[in-house]
């Protein structure tokens, strides 16, 4: 007996609770939606988008299929100035949406200063600051050059970058090499120790790794590495211990046979071994190559970039091309290193949210019980955080799986409409930079993206012509 609708009646109630209660009184099965009006300013855009829901669904299917198909692989290491379009000696790239010197936060200014000195554009930090202040440097977002950068994300022409290629689409994405924790350029530090390290990375580390990569029988498959790391307690953003170990394991035979000075090889191996986050920049480049596979899908409401410059948080959608939609970068709610507190924190910064954009990082907290204190303390909280993300994503990853959720695929393809409709924001976890240039990392934790960025993006999508 299947009833009028072909199946036994099973109701979901959205709105007045009375109606749900009355159904239960009749012994009907009722689920409830905790309905709230959409985010401020989004209601009218959602109503317009409702009239083309089927088209949006088809576009989102295409966007997500492209992300699922992406096969990010490491094809080498190169000089940023040779690979990134328009990156000349006077141009410095940064994380997040576009911003000028006046708008930049402390850590970003510090990183700009450090990079200018590193490139020899300025003789010292004072000159670098003066030069920047009078318009003597050009700035642009990494994202607009196919690159991503952690924290301040500053990339200058001579820096070595990972070259990651999506085997399916041929897209290339780039990311600098990770400098380690503490006093580093990406947190706005620029003293001699920082600059010396950058020079060594450029002159030694890049050379040794390039030689090792050339000896690999085939390009490093980042999709496979990330998938394994997620099953080993990483989430790919704030925990990269497994990923880094897997990378080192993959490189080890090659490192042992490279024709480089032993001292250099040892130093490179020590550097990677000593930096749990070394893999982060590869995960980010993989994220960029993956997300870019969906970019430009007309009509799609899927998020293809989330990035912060320390002042603003920017969002891009597959269906709205290269436009950025921004809101103020949030204050990170997190755990601080000894001696630091919230008063020291800079606002949210970095392109590392490209990991959340492809459904790992904070979106996959369930994978990383070791760092659950970022999300409230218990593994249950981490699982709950990830489960909530399925409500705002379009699909589940066919590559990345979560053992704690019965090997369910990670939540993939953030649907901006659902973010503004449900009020549920993507879960982002991130490092915390000191607000002053030159100090470095002071903690890590969770941050809320600004809803207005998603509202603006949704409105722009509603304004965009239908396919």
């Amino acid at each position: 007996m299947s009833g009028l609708l072909g199946r036994p009646l099973k109701v979901v109630n959205a709105g007045v609770e009375l109606f749900a209660g009355e159904l239960e009184r009749q012994q009907a099965e009722v689920a409830r939606v905790e309905w709230r009006p959409p985010a401020d300013g989004a209601g009218e855009a959602l109503e317009r988008l409702a009239t083309r829901a089927a088209e949006t669904a088809a576009a989102n299917d295409r966007a997500v299929v492209a992300m699922q198909a992406a096969e990010p692989r490491v094809v080498g290491i190169g000089r940023a100035g040779d690979l990134l379009p328009g990156l000349d000696e006077r141009t410095l790239l940064h994380a997040g949406p576009p911003i000028d010197w006046d708008g930049m936060c402390g850590p970003l200014r510090g990183a700009i200063i450090g990079a200018a000195v590193h490139e020899g554009i300025a003789a010292d930090p004072e000159e670098a600051a003066r030069l920047a202040g009078r318009g003597g440097l050009r700035f642009g977002p990494c994202h607009e050059r196919g690159a991503v950068g952690p924290m301040a994300g500053v990339v200058s022409a001579s820096m070595p970058v990972w070259v990651v290629e999506d085997g399916a689409s041929g897209n290339r994405a780039f990311c600098t090499l990770n400098e380690g924790l503490g006093k580093v350029l990406r947190y706005g530090a620029y003293d001699a120790e920082v600059l010396d390290r950058l020079a060594w990375m450029r002159d030694v580390l890049a050379r040794v790794l390039t030689a090792a990569l050339e000896r690999l029988p085939e390009p490093l498959d980042l999709r496979a590495l990330i998938a394994q790391a997620l099953q080993m307690g990483d989430e790919g953003h704030n925990r990269n211990r497994a990923g880094t170990s897997l990378l080192l394991r993959a490189l080890l035979p090659a490192l042992l046979t490279v024709e480089e000075p032993t001292a250099d090889v040892v130093a490179a191996a020590e550097f990677i071994s000593g930096n749990d986050h070394f893999f982060l920049n590869l995960a980010m480049a993989a994220g960029k190559a993956t997300a870019d596979a969906a970019a430009g899908t007309a009509g799609s409401s899927i998020v293809t970039a989330m990035a912060r410059n320390g002042t603003e948080f920017g969002v891009r959608l597959a269906g709205t091309g290269d436009r950025w939609f921004t809101g103020p970068a949030g204050v990170v709610d997190g755990l601080y290193l000894p001696g630091f507190g919230p008063e020291d924190a800079n606002r949210d910064i970095g392109d590392s949210t490209i990991t959340e954009t492809i459904g790992i990082g904070g979106m996959a907290m369930a994978a990383a019980p070791a760092i659950v204190r970022f999300v409230g303390g218990s593994p249950e909280d981490a699982v709950a955080a990830t489960l909530a993300m399925y409500d705002i994503t379009w699909a589940e990853s066919s590559s990345y799986q979560l053992p704690t959720l019965g090997f369910r695929g990670t939540p993939l393809g953030i649907d901006a409409r659902e973010v503004v409709h449900s009020g549920v924001l993507p879960t982002v976890n991130t490092g915390i930079a000191h607000k002053d240039p030159g100090v470095g990392q002071v903690g890590a934790g969770l941050v809320e993206p600004p809803m207005e960025a998603f509202v603006a993006a949704t409105r722009a999508l509603a304004d965009s012509p239908t396919a």
Partner: protein
């Protein structure tokens, strides 16, 4: 020296039923003289003004919340406001969270899509969200493969038509927008009565129309298979009856359905023809009940027309399809007077004449639109002009909703009256207030009210209305009659008999049908009603 507090909270959402409940609880707090928590709609702000709360409407809209309290003194008002805030904070936590697929600590789903993903067994969404957000909810429900029962109103007809086309393509029912009632597989959705199951399939573009017909059938011992609501505009030219046609297909294929009743306020003539043909195509005998329609569509064989709900119900009880089957047990004896609808009066326990005549105008105050329409048509057939906010003729429209003009019928369930507040079947506040005014008006001879029971409705409408009726009649013992059309089924949670008894005890004349209540009202007003039943109501009016 009383003190009052008014607070405005911008962009704060609570559903209208929650707000009503909080307002009620707040009014019962010790020391509180008046309290309200309402959405800042024009109707609500006007009501607040009448309660003595001045709120500047500039810049306020339905997504803003207004909290008002008046108490013995300023300190008490401040305390009361805190309590109102506490009540509000505690409200809305009634739900037990989402369906399966969650786990400890997992937040309930915030969207239909999320709910449907968590529990793929879900197949019907019940929507009662503010009308300005309906389009997205409906699109999402259909995208998720859910049938939809949409209580809310607010889509323009073109969008409604587009949504219904999408639903039809996917083989889904979109009941609504503006769908008050459905009964699917014996489960009442929205406002619905606990009627017995049986052979009659109902399709209705009118919630109270469905309630009236199913209750009249129930009273006659006849049950229904399903009642599919389609929303008040389904038979408009823009929507073209998409869901009525789909519902007829479903009922045609449904083995439990032996005969069909289709209900709507007067439809577009072209659409009515299409519906008549579709009803014929089911191969099951059918009646089209379009109260207020003067020219029935051409009727193919097997399809009949009824100008009133009462006549349609009577046909469905004594339908030719039922011939040969044992005669249903009919509660009322009186024979029809040959208006073409068999056994018209047989479904209605009849009160033939009022005990006394109280001359004056008739004021009809309704919570059900089609009940109002049906009664109005009967009255207009005798007295001519009846002013209303849902007028039978455009030129009979009330200039001011809140001011009666001669014979006046007001539908309190109409859009303009319900924005930002609960439906009058749940929250009788507006109608109660109007009742007091109309009953006290020396021009009023008869007040005609509907009382609708069933799931979704007020838990004790007679308890609410009885004292008001009692007091009103006490003040004008020889000048006023109160007639109630009681729409309910024996199984309703409020208890049909108890409700009827309480209303009678208060002095009201109680009938089970709206048309009959209208005839009784005419008689009570001394307006020489022909106590002829049925189709007479059908010839009164044009289309709004």
């Amino acid at each position: 020296m009383t003190g009052s507090r008014v607070e405005v909270r911008r962009g704060t959402y609570h559903d209208s039923v929650t707000l009503m409940q909080v307002s009620r609880q707040a009014e019962e707090l010790p020391g509180v003289e008046a309290a309200a928590a309402v959405a800042a709609t024009p109707v609500n702000l006007e009501l607040l003004a009448r309660q003595g709360f001045a709120v500047d409407p500039a810049g306020l809209g339905p997504s803003d919340l207004v909290l008002c309290v008046r108490a013995a003194d300023d300190a008490a008002a401040g305390q009361a406001m805190e309590q109102v805030e506490a009540l509000l904070a505690g409200a809305g936590q009634g739900g037990t969270g989402g369906g399966a697929g969650g786990g400890p600590g997992v937040a309930p789903p915030r969207s239909l899509r999320a709910a449907a993903r968590r529990d793929p067994g879900l197949n019907l969404a019940v929507l009662s969200v503010p009308g300005r957000h309906l389009g997205y909810e409906i699109a999402e429900a259909l995208q998720a493969g859910l049938h939809v029962f949409c209580f809310s109103d607010g889509l323009d007809p073109a969008t409604e038509a587009a949504c219904k086309r999408v639903a039809a393509e996917r083989g889904l029912l979109l009941m609504g927008p503006d769908c008050g009632t459905a009964i699917i597989d014996g489960v009442g959705l929205g406002f619905a009565n606990a009627v017995r199951r049986g052979p009659v399939g109902v399709v209705g573009a009118s919630g109270t129309g469905i309630q009236e017909v199913t209750c009249l059938l129930d009273a006659a011992g006849v049950g229904i298979s399903h009642a599919v609501g389609v929303g008040g505009r389904d038979l408009s030219p823009e929507v073209g009856g998409i869901m009525t046609l789909r519902a007829l297909e479903l009922l045609a294929a449904d083995d439990a359905t032996e005969r069909l009743v289709v209900i709507s306020k007067p439809p577009d003539p072209g659409v009515a023809r299409r519906v008549a043909d579709a009803a014929a195509a089911t191969g099951k005998p059918a009646v089209l009940a379009f109260p207020g329609l003067s020219d029935p569509p051409p009727l193919p064989p097997g399809v009949r027309f009824a100008g009133s709900l009462e006549a349609a119900a009577a046909w469905a009880v004594g339908s030719p399809a039922a011939e040969g089957a044992p005669e249903p047990h009919l509660p009322a004896p009186s024979p029809p007077e040959g208006d073409g609808s068999p056994a018209a009066e047989t479904v209605v326990p009849v009160v033939h004449s009022p005990p006394a005549v109280t001359p004056g105008v008739i004021r009809g105050l309704f919570s059900g639109g089609t009940l109002c329409y049906e009664a109005m048509a009967v009255v207009a057939g005798v007295v001519g002009r009846v002013a209303s906010n849902i007028p039978l003729r455009p030129e009979w429209r009330l200039a001011d909703l809140h001011r009666s003009e001669g014979h006046t019928f007001v539908d309190f369930g109409d859009d303009a009256m319900t924005e930002g507040r609960a439906h009058p079947m749940i929250d009788p506040g507006l109608r109660n207030e109007r009742f007091r005014r109309e009953a006290a008006d020396p021009a009023t001879g008869v007040v005609l009210l509907d009382v609708v029971l069933g799931y979704g409705a007020h838990p004790d409408p007679a308890g609410e209305l009885g004292p008001l009726i009692d007091r009103a009649l006490a003040e004008r013992p020889v000048g006023l009659s109160v007639v109630v059309s009681l729409c309910g089924a024996a199984g309703d949670p409020q208890g049909l008999d108890g409700q009827a008894a309480a209303l009678r005890e208060a002095g009201a004349l109680v009938t089970r049908s709206s048309a009959q209540a209208a005839r009784l009202a005419l008689a009570a007003a001394g307006l020489g009603a022909p106590i002829a039943p049925g189709g007479s109501g059908g010839h009164a009016g044009g289309r709004r």
